[in-house]
């Protein structure tokens, strides 16, 4: 395959472009999606025209609803949220309508919509501009939740989301947009629900997702002479790759779950529960969570740094569980 290093944003752009080229029923809706300073959607208007690439009013309920409706008539809409926090304005459409319609209709109606949303802290943007929130969507049965950590996954997973018959929320960490990685130029899809072992190890499993994968890799590097750490990128919260989780715990016997979302009732809690239920006999140490505290995100950069999960917090969690023989 023809591979070249491109950015996370360019990988997303390429997925959108290739899906729109192949399928005229793929459309893109969102605020300022045709703006030339937005790298993920750059050039799409010029190539596909304003009927398919349209700027919406600031009416998240209405344009997400429009996306759901068009998807019910089997179009393939991609709706963009500037930030995931803004999706909270449209919770009825996302959590009542989008998530439940397929089930409630007894399978008579499908909603193959993809919502793209950028997310994440680290830019001192304050409490309504920095959240992760994927656990909130994962909580509601009926939406697949996809959180890529690198350009290769971003492209393959997004193409998968767009072509898949189910609704997804596809989450893009704003600090990853400039990250470069090798990405095939061809069209390819990656399955939803398959985690990836990004670093093999024997002593401690670090199960994580999104931007935190990079912090976990750095933590593992830092400890490389002391603890052999296995880092697993879940890639999707729903479906969750339980097999990958359990088989890694079988090997290491110790688990640290790392996640940028709020700790309570979130990704960390879910992974921990699965491990406790299904890998209990392999566990040698308590399971530790490294997540955002159950507190809104502070504006001040020093406070935000204190607040966010990071390499140092992961290192100390790994050290704690490694102490158990």
């Amino acid at each position: 395959m023809d591979e070249r290093p491109i950015t996370f944003a360019e990988a997303i752009n390429e997925a959108l472009k290739q899906s729109m080229m192949k399928d005229p029923e793929v459309i893109l809706l969102g605020e300022n999606v045709t703006s030339s300073w937005r790298p993920t959607t750059k050039g799409l208007l010029e190539e596909f025209g304003r009927e398919r690439v349209r700027d919406t009013p600031i009416s998240e309920t209405a344009f997400i609803g429009a996306g759901i409706g068009a998807s019910i008539l089997s179009m393939r809409p991609v709706v963009e949220l500037m930030l995931v926090d803004f999706g909270l304005v449209a919770m009825d459409q996302i959590l009542n309508q989008l998530a439940k319609t397929h089930y409630m209709s007894g399978g008579a109606v499908k909603t193959p919509l993809t919502i793209r949303a950028s997310y994440g802290g680290g830019t001192s943007s304050g409490a309504t501009h920095s959240e992760s929130l994927y656990s909130l969507f994962a909580h509601m049965p009926g939406i697949k939740v996809v959180v890529p950590s690198n350009p290769f996954d971003a492209k393959g997973l997004l193409l998968s989301c767009i072509r898949n018959d189910d609704p997804e929320i596809f989450m893009e960490h704003r600090l990853l947009y400039d990250l470069k990685g090798h990405v095939p130029a061809e069209d390819y899809v990656l399955p939803l629900g398959e985690a990836k072992v990004v670093q093999e190890g024997d002593d401690v499993t670090v199960f994580t997702i999104g931007r935190m994968v990079h912090e976990a890799i750095q933590a593992a590097q830092e400890l490389k002479d002391k603890v052999s750490v296995e880092v697993i990128d879940a890639r999707t919260v729903v479906p969750l790759d339980e097999k990958a989780l359990i088989s890694s715990i079988e090997k290491t016997g110790r688990l640290v779950v790392v996640d940028e979302d709020y700790e309570r009732c979130g990704f960390c809690a879910e992974v921990t529960a699965i491990a406790a239920n299904k890998a209990f006999e392999y566990l040698k140490a308590p399971i530790l969570r490294v997540a955002s505290p159950n507190v809104p995100i502070p504006y001040n950069p020093t406070l935000e740094k204190r607040y966010l999960p990071n390499r140092d917090k992961i290192v100390s969690a790994i050290k704690s569980v490694a102490r158990y023989a």
Partner: protein, 324 residues
């Protein structure tokens, strides 16, 4: 008050001073962003000063406002302390909200400045509640909801117009339409229109309240329209929708420090200064004095903010609930 009635020179100069204060404060804020002292980007109000200053000149400290992602004009016009304001934007312990809010979430209840808001349209429904409290207490207070033309399309904003009208609340909806000629969003020329009518104020009819559109670069027009709407609200006659056309002078988010010459025709400060001088209400020397003294105040605020301590890092984890 009717069109053409006399407004005292003192009041005019107070309004002018507020406009100069906002402009000066924002310029200093831009400089601090450039220097990296302020750790974020934010929305600015430059070019819209007449709206905040004209509307808030009619309000009392006991009235409330809800603001937006361009909050500095509204907050300053409502009387927020400049030192605490600059400290908050710099993320300092001495800020209104201990450095936890930042520019998009500042609240100063002491002067009724109930909130900058990071969610477009997010402040508007809450303003209903400020107005409801005044109505139920019978204290004659009013509340003002500031929002942009983009926000005017949020469900929550439209729902609020209906509720304010059916409950006959003492509330003034102030829509600042920053793209009155060409429809734009955050400076980007959008490829589909977001507004289907010429005047956003024409929506008032559908909600059963009065509404009209005014030139927001002419502060006397703003003041007069606001005066009438506030009188109406205070006397129990219900809400009004005011639309003010404005031009954001220095770009949307950060913009540059200087603005382009061809924008100056929309500059509300330049325009008002000329008017005041023509009236004989202001001369060159007085103008210089106003500018210098406002610059001094802003400089003091900047120094105060820079000299203020960082919040204790553990503050990051405190304050979710009242009782912890």
């Amino acid at each position: 008050m009717v069109e053409g009635a006399k407004v005292k020179n003192e009041k005019l100069l107070e309004i002018y001073r507020t406009m100069v204060r906002i402009r000066t404060f924002e310029k200093a804020t831009r400089e601090l962003i450039k220097k990296g002292v302020i750790p974020t980007r934010m929305g600015f109000y430059t070019g819209q000063e007449a709206v905040a200053a004209g509307v808030c000149a009619v309000l009392k400290e006991t009235d409330q406002i809800g603001s937006t992602h361009r909050p500095l004009g509204h907050l300053i016009a409502k009387g927020c302390d400049l030192k605490k304001l600059m400290s908050e934007i710099c993320g300092k312990e001495t800020g209104f909200n201990k450095g936890k809010a930042g520019p998009y979430h500042i609240f100063d209840p002491s002067v009724g400045a109930l909130g900058a808001n990071g969610i477009v349209g997010g402040s508007v429904p809450m303003v209903l509640g400020y107005a409801l409290a005044h109505q139920l207490r019978g204290d004659g207070g009013v509340a003002v909801a500031f929002f942009g033309e983009g926000a005017s399309n949020q469900g929550g904003v439209l729902e609020s117009m209906n509720l304010a009208s059916v409950w006959n609340l003492p509330l003034i909806f102030v829509c600042e339409n920053s793209s009155p000629d060409v429809q734009t969003m955050l400076g980007h020329k959008i490829n589909y229109p977001q507004i289907s009518v010429d005047k956003i104020s024409s929506r008032a009819l559908g909600f059963g309240m009065p509404g009209d559109t005014y030139e927001g670069w002419d502060v006397m027009k703003v003041y007069r329209a606001a005066f009438e709407a506030v009188e109406r609200a205070r006397s129990g006659s219900g809400p009004t929708l005011l639309e003010f056309k404005v031009h954001q002078l220095t770009g949307n988010i950060e913009g540059s420090l200087e603005f382009f010459e061809d924008e100056s025709m929309w500059d509300p400060i330049r325009r008002f200064r000329r008017e005041l001088m023509f009236k004989g209400a202001l001369n060159e020397e007085e103008d210089r004095w106003i500018r210098t003294s406002e610059e001094l105040k802003v400089k003091e605020a900047v120094e105060y903010a820079i000299g203020s301590p960082e919040p204790n890092v553990e503050e990051a984890l405190r304050g979710v609930f009242v009782e912890e």
